[in-house]
């Protein structure tokens, strides 16, 4: 399927198998793809004449990858004009992604905010499929009930593992949890905090405060992983935009162990 061009900047066409509309602004595009890919990696989605945007892999199937895209700019707006059966141009996958095997055994917390759910969706799915899934805790936060992504997955996850779904704010009458994800960290029942692992993905302040919450709870730094979002023009370690210190997020990340990421100062 994947046409290998000698030139890594040349995108290849990929068919849109399905479009899943979460909100007005957030769709998941199920793209035909067969090849090695991990959750947390990203593709450069290319709309010629409009540009490219790095989009993280939100789901992986036998012959597809899911790309959950938020309509925020020139490129993503164009992507939203596309229909099923048409194609998008892709480059990638790029970056390291999550090693899901790290989270299969023992106690795990995944904390995700907004579109930060996309890169960990595959991780959560992996957790949901483990035999000790009740030791897998997931805190997912959205700005408001109407911003919720992956509603079907949330239902499924709620059955399979310990899911805390929360929103920052909601209209009157909303019966679900209201509050930032950090509010729920202290109450997550962890038996052996020194061994428990955590994954945190979301907007920078949310990540910062969530990691602080985990550390306060007693998590070891080396048991925490985060995923960084940066401007990327190439995904190949050339354009320079995603560099933090000696690290290129597009090459060495976007997933970092906290022992590394804590020393990455923008």
């Amino acid at each position: 399927m994947r046409k290998m061009s000698e030139n890594p900047y040349v995108p290849y066409p990929s068919e849109i198998l399905q479009i899943i509309r979460h909100t007005d602004k957030e769709y998941t595009f199920r793209m035909r793809f067969t090849g090695e890919v991990r959750p947390g990696q990203f593709f450069e989605v290319s709309v010629p004449r409009y540009g490219e945007a790095p989009i993280s892999v939100s789901g992986i199937g036998r012959d597809y990858v899911d790309l959950t895209i938020r309509r925020v700019g020139r490129v993503t707006s164009e992507v939203f004009e596309k229909g099923e059966g048409t194609s998008l141009l892709l480059r990638g996958p790029y970056g390291n992604g999550f090693d899901t095997s790290l989270y299969e055994n023992g106690e795990v917390i995944v904390i995700a905010g907004g579109t930060g759910v996309s890169p960990v969706r595959g991780v959560i799915d992996a957790l949901a499929g483990t035999k000790d899934a009740r030791d897998k805790h997931v805190i997912v936060g959205f700005r408001s009930p109407s911003d919720m992504l992956f509603r079907d997955d949330l239902k499924r996850w709620d059955q399979a593992l310990d899911l805390i779904l929360t929103v920052d704010g909601a209209p009157e009458g909303y019966t679900g949890n209201i509050g930032l994800v950090t509010k729920y960290i202290p109450d997550v029942p962890i038996r052996d905090v020194k061994k428990a692992r955590a994954v945190v993905v979301g907007p920078p302040p949310m990540m910062r405060f969530s990691v602080m919450g985990l550390l306060q709870k007693g998590f070891e730094e080396e048991n925490i992983w985060v995923s960084q979002e940066r401007k990327m023009c190439c995904g190949l370690g050339k354009c320079g935009h995603c560099r933090i210190g000696q690290t290129y997020v597009c090459l060495d990340g976007p997933v970092f162990n906290y022992t590394e990421s804590k020393n990455m100062l923008d």
Binding site: G51, R70, G73, G237, C239, H241, R243
Partner: protein
């Protein structure tokens, strides 16, 4: 072997060398400087010896050949992506020792960093050969000696020094020797000149603790720096670019993808879709730039990125001295007050 040539005879040699090659050299562009009736020295293609600016240090670096300020990568038609054509001729680039050291830095990013060599860079790079311009003296703002780049590395075809109207050539590539021998006024031992001392001296700290990243020394530049990015655009080792997709206004279906030079000092460098931005203050941007040149690049590649050409200091409209910042970082790294 060394040769001494007059300007005319050097031009004749260049004519022969240039039969199947392009010659790229610093050129004094009259009146093209920032201000009225001020010249600027920047690189361009030349055909005669007199066109090469042998005395003044170039304001802009040779890198514009390898990493053009604006480079079209693809043309898009309705259902086709076509790579842009390029000139396949070999290019001879005339540059000074510091700049020849800079080539290694450009290669590091474009050829070594990541899994793929950059094909657009590589296709030009593969066709580039170098000619060393000797330095008879140090220039204002140069600190090549401190950076260890005052002596040219191997890998140039020949060197050229202009002294008293004569061109002194040391030929390294013996294939070219006959061309010079045929025109030379004299054959003699020639060594490319290089400087052994600069007025500006810097001391790059061996280790920069994380605390220096948060040192108040950077705050000064939040106020002083105007984030114009001139320092980046003149730097021979800055490599960042931004992608630009455009469609032609007369026909929205056709367009191109190009990349343009980017500056980590200029607004928008870190902007992500949706409004996220990192390093909002100019002080943070200055820290990001400076520490890349003397710390972060070294951690990744094993040597300093900066080659001490001093162009950034020369071009800064706010008289900010990057060289001085290096020394401040050194002090801060050693635990002293940077501004003391």
């Amino acid at each position: 072997m060394g040769y001494v040539l007059s300007q005319d005879s050097f031009t004749r040699v260049l004519g022969k060398i240039g039969l199947d090659r392009r010659l790229y050299a610093p050129v004094n562009k009259v009146g093209e400087g920032r201000y009225t009736d001020v010249d600027v020295v920047r690189y361009d293609f030349i055909s005669e010896a007199a066109e090469i600016e042998m005395e003044k240090k170039s304001d802009y670096a040779f890198k514009e050949l390898l990493t053009p300020l604006s480079e079209t990568l693809f043309f898009f038609t309705e259902n086709e992506v076509k790579e842009a054509d390029y000139d396949q001729r070999e290019v001879l680039v005339f540059l000074r020792a510091c700049d020849l050291h800079a080539v290694k830095r450009l290669d590091a990013i474009y050829l070594e960093n990541g899994r793929f060599p950059d094909p657009f860079y590589k296709r030009i790079r593969d066709r580039v050969k170098f000619v060393l311009i000797g330095c008879g003296h140090s220039y204002e703002d140069c600190f090549c000696v401190s950076m260890g780049t005052n002596v040219a590395p191997e890998g140039y075809l020949f060197s050229v020094d202009l002294q008293d109207g004569s061109y002194y050539i040391d030929v390294k590539d013996q294939d070219l020797a006959p061309l010079f021998a045929a025109e030379a006024e004299a054959e003699q031992e020639v060594m490319a000149r290089h400087v052994t001392e600069n007025e500006v001296k810097v001391s790059v700290p061996a280790d920069v603790p994380l605390a220096v990243y948060k040192d108040p020394l950077w705050d000064e530049y939040t106020a002083r720096c105007i984030n114009c990015g001139r320092c980046n655009f003149v730097c021979p080792t800055c490599t960042c670019y931004t992608m630009q997709d455009v469609f032609y206004t007369d026909n929205g279906k056709v367009g191109e993808r190009r990349r343009v030079g980017a500056s980590c000092m200029v607004d928008g460098y870190t902007n992500v879709a949706g409004g996220g931005q990192y390093r909002r203050t100019n002080g943070e941007r200055m820290r990001f730039k400076v520490l890349h040149k003397i710390v972060d690049f070294r951690k990744r590649f094993g040597y300093d990125m900066c080659v001490g050409c001093g162009r950034c200091d020369q071009v800064c409209p706010e008289y900010i001295s990057y060289a001085n910042i290096i020394n401040k970082v050194k002090k801060a790294a050693e635990g002293g007050a940077a501004n003391a």
